[in-house]
Amino acid sequence: MREIKAGGEELNGLGAILKQVMEETIQVPGTWKTIRRLQGTLVVREAESQVAVHIEFHRGEIQIQNGSVDRPTAYVEGGFEELSAISSGQVGPIRALLGKKIRAGGNLWKLLQMSKVIINRKT
């Protein structure tokens, strides 16, 4: 069953927002096809508040949890507007990265794959 699990304590606001977005994106067949094969951890941090969540991918099992982790597979950091623009599909992650709207690191190929789970172009 496709689901997003929330681990640990109650999700912070960033986590609650991303969880709802992810619950929709995993229902998109093309997105799920990419995501279900992934393994690793993506850290997402909102730059102004420094609030972070990490999303763990383990072959179709996805869990979101508060805070960061040491040595994630990839990370992305940006302000609320920038993360929102990416998450709503208004700006592509590569364009945002090249335009220095966001910071990112780790395995960039995996970042692009993993970030599909937080991009909802539907609305």
Partner: protein, 141 residues
């Protein structure tokens, strides 16, 4: 003249502040046009407020169409809700804390279609900024 937060007078001033903010008009063109873009702010006791109160705000196409106190949440049908304590809301109204940051931290718990919020982040920011653009007085001070 400063108005008491929360009160109907304060809601009236907030509506005016939203409507004179060019960023709201510019970024909110699509807000509420094909979905319910109204908000209910649940303000929980503390910091001088003794009883939970509710502020209802409706905005459509970059204009505030309604801002008022409601007695019960059942009186309205909001598309989005934000819940927080009076002490925390007060800091936002004073301009001492950022509403978006409060949402990120979970200080304010929001419900509704998050994709809409993400897609209209600049509009949300503009409306949130307008909240501290006029003088207010506060309970418990």
């Amino acid at each position: 003249m400063a108005v008491l937060y929360p009160s109907q007078e304060w809601c009236d001033e907030w509506k005016k502040a939203i409507d004179r903010n060019p960023s709201v008009a510019e970024t909110g063109k699509n807000w509420g046009s094909d979905f319910n873009g109204s908000w209910l702010f649940e303000v929980q006791p503390g910091g001088g407020l003794e009883k939970t109160c509710y502020v209802y705000l409706n905005a459509k196409n970059g204009k505030c169409t309604d801002a008022r106190m409601v007695q019960e949440p059942s009186e309205v049908n909001p598309g989005f809700t934000a819940v927080g304590s009076y002490a925390d809301y007060k800091e936002v109204v004073k301009g001492e804390k950022d509403f978006i940051e409060g949402v990120m931290r979970g200080t304010f718990k929001i419900k509704g279609d998050m994709s809409r919020i993400m897609r209209n982040a600049k509009f949300i920011r503009a409306v949130a900024n307008s909240i501290s653009s006029f003088e207010a007085t506060y309970l418990g001070e």
